[in-house]
Amino acid sequence: MTGSRRAVRTTTVIVGAGHTGLAVSHFLTQRSIAHVVIERGEVANAWRTQRWDSLRLLTPNWQSRLPGYAYDGDQPDGFMTMPEVIGFIDGYAAAIDAPVLTGTTVTSVRQVDGGYRVETDKGVFEAPTVMLASGAYNRASLPAIATEVPETITNVTPLAYRRPADLPDGAVLVVGASATGIQLADEIHRSGRPVTLAVGEHVRMPRTYRGLDVMWWMDRAGVLDEGLDDIDDLIRGRNIPSPQLVGTPDRSTLDLNALTDAGIELVGRLSALRDGVALFSGSLRNKCELADLKLARLLDRFDEWALSTGIDGDLEPPNRPAPTRVAADPRLKLDLRGGEISTIVWATGFSADYSWLEVPVLDRKGRLKHDGGVVTGAPGLYAIGLNLLRRRKSSFIHGAEDDARDLTDHLAAFVDGVARRDPAAPVT
C-alpha cells in the first residue's frame, strides 16, 4: 500500500534533473538546504530522448553557462549538438555533485500537513517545498483537428521525430513555422520529399546581424534580461513562438525566404480539415508582414544600442533582410486523401506535463498559475524552466541561473518561516 510506505523527509524535492533542476540544486547546496533531485530517466533526460538527430542548440556555445560552470571549448561561436548538450549537463551534475536519483518516476505530488508528499515508483518523499523542474516541453501540443486527419496519413510530432529517413516516401505537410517547424521542413525537403509549410504567427530572426550572432545582440542590448515588469503583455509574451533560428556550423539564416528559395511551398495557418481536405488561412501575408515589422523594430533597437554604446562604427553596416516573399495566390486547400501527402509533422508547440501533479494549481488551459515561478495558492511549491518565467531568457540554458537564484532565495525564506512557526519541524 503506497499510503503506508514510510516517507523519506527532506527540505526540498526537485522534480527533474535537467539544467534548471541542477541549477536549483547548486544554490540549495550553497545554502546547505537538504534536497533530492528526482529524475525519471538519466540526467538531461529530455535532451537524450525527445530530440531529433540533427538538432543543435539555438544559442552559441559561449552562452551555454550554468551557475559556476561554463562552456570552455575552443568554438565559442559554435552550436552544441545534442550529445554535446548531454555531455555539458552531465558534466554539470558531476561538478556540483548533485544528489540525483535517476530512474525514478514521480507518480504523484500532493499537499499534506507540513508540505508535500511526493510519491515515486521507488519510494515516497515528504518535504515542505517542491521545485517543479520537469520541463515545459514534454508534450507536443496538437490542435483538435489533428484527430480528423485521414487514416492513410502518418502523423509525427517533433518529440518522436528523429530523421527524414524514418518517414514514409511522399510529400510532407509541416504544420507550424517556429524554430522546430522551419528546421524540420528544411531537412525533410533536403531528403527529397516535397514539403508544404503551414505558417501562422511566427518570429523572424536572422542568425547574424552586422556580422554578429543575433544572440549576442539580444544579450548585450538587454533583450534577454528583460523581466516581467518590462513586458507590458504577459499573456502574449508567454505565448510568443520560438524564433525562426537554426544553429549550424556555417551560421546560416533559415527564414521563410530561404525555404521558398529551396522549393518549399508556404501556405497559411492550418485552420480546418473538411472531408479530408486541409484548409489554410488567407492570413499568410499579414502574418509575414507582422513578423517583418517586428523584426525591423528589433533591429532598430540593436542599431540604437550600438550607437549609444559607441560601437556602431566598428560594425558592418546595418543591412536589413529582404521582406518575406509571399506568393500572389497562396494555396488555400490541400487534399489529404489523394495519396500525395504521406506525412504531417505537427510542429505546433509543446506544453508541460503535470499529469502527476495533484495540487489544484492549474488554470483552465492546464497551465501552472504562478508569479515568477512562485506557484499561486500552494505555499512552498515552485516552478522553473517555463517560458518567460521571470525573464525573457528563462527558457534558455543560461537563463536558469538568475531564476534559480531568485527562487531559492524565496524558498529559503519560506523554509525559515516554517521553521520559526514550528521549531520542531525537521527542516535541515
Binding site: E201, I235, G268, R269, S271, A272, R274, L279, S281, G282, S283, N286, E289, L290, L293, A296, R297, D329, R364
Partner: protein, 186 residues
C-alpha cells in the same frame, strides 16, 4: 514658452478594453457572445435585415436603437437595386472592423490619427454563383484593401497599426478561416 502636449485622442477607451480583457480572462464564460441579425424577404432579391439585440457578458444586451438594412442586387442582375448586394455587406464588415481596430491600436500605441480612409475591393467570378462553371467558387477569389492614413507617426508605425489591426480583427478572421455554418428550417 512652454507648450503643452495634447493628449492622444482617437475616441477609443483603451483602458476599458484592457480592463475587460483582464476581467474576462478570469471569467471566460462572460466572454461568450452571440451576435444576431433578423432577415426578412421583401420581394425578388430584396430583403431587409434588422439588428437590435445580442448576447454577451452573461446576459441579453440591446443596441441603443434598432438598425435596419436593405440588401438587394444591382440592375445589371435584373434586380431592383434596393440596397447593396450581400457581398458588399461583407466588404463593409471587413472595412469597418479593420478601421475600428486601427483606431484602437493607435490609441493604445499613443498615435494620433487625423484621417483614415480605405477602399475595399472583392474580386469575384460570377460564373460561380450562376452555376456556369463548376470549377469557379461562389465567394471572393481575393479581397484587396487599400488604406490612406494620415497620422502623427512614421510610415513603419502606420504599417504596424494596419498589420496589428488585421491580427486582431474578427471579420478578417471570419473571412480568412473556415467557419461551420448550420442552417435550419422550421
Amino acid at each position: 514658452m512652454a507648450t503643452q502636449e495634447t493628449p492622444i485622442d482617437n475616441g477609443v477607451n483603451v483602458q476599458a478594453l484592457l480592463d475587460a480583457r483582464n476581467a474576462l480572462t478570469d471569467a471566460p464564460e462572460a466572454a461568450q457572445f452571440t451576435w444576431r441579425a433578423n432577415t426578412e424577404w421583401q420581394r425578388g432579391t430584396h430583403s431587409n435585415s434588422t439588428i437590435e439585440t445580442f448576447f454577451g457578458l452573461g446576459g441579453e444586451q440591446t443596441h441603443r436603437s434598432s438598425f435596419s438594412y436593405d440588401a438587394d442586387h444591382p440592375e445589371v442582375f435584373a434586380s431592383e437595386d434596393n440596397g447593396p448586394t450581400p457581398v458588399e455587406f461583407v466588404l463593409v464588415g471587413l472595412g469597418a472592423c479593420l478601421t475600428a481596430g486601427i483606431a484602437a491600436v493607435a490609441q493604445n500605441r499613443g498615435i494620433q490619427l487625423n484621417s483614415v480612409k480605405a477602399t475595399i475591393e472583392g474580386n469575384m467570378d460570377i460564373l460561380g454563383i450562376l452555376g456556369g462553371d463548376p470549377d469557379v467558387r461562389n465567394g471572393f477569389n481575393d479581397i484587396k484593401v487599400k488604406y490612406q492614413i494620415d497620422a502623427d507617426a512614421s510610415p513603419e508605425e502606420i504599417q504596424g497599426l494596419v498589420a496589428q489591426s488585421q491580427k486582431r480583427s474578427a471579420v478578417f478572421d471570419a473571412i480568412t478561416n473556415p467557419t461551420n455554418i448550420t442552417v435550419e428550417v422550421n
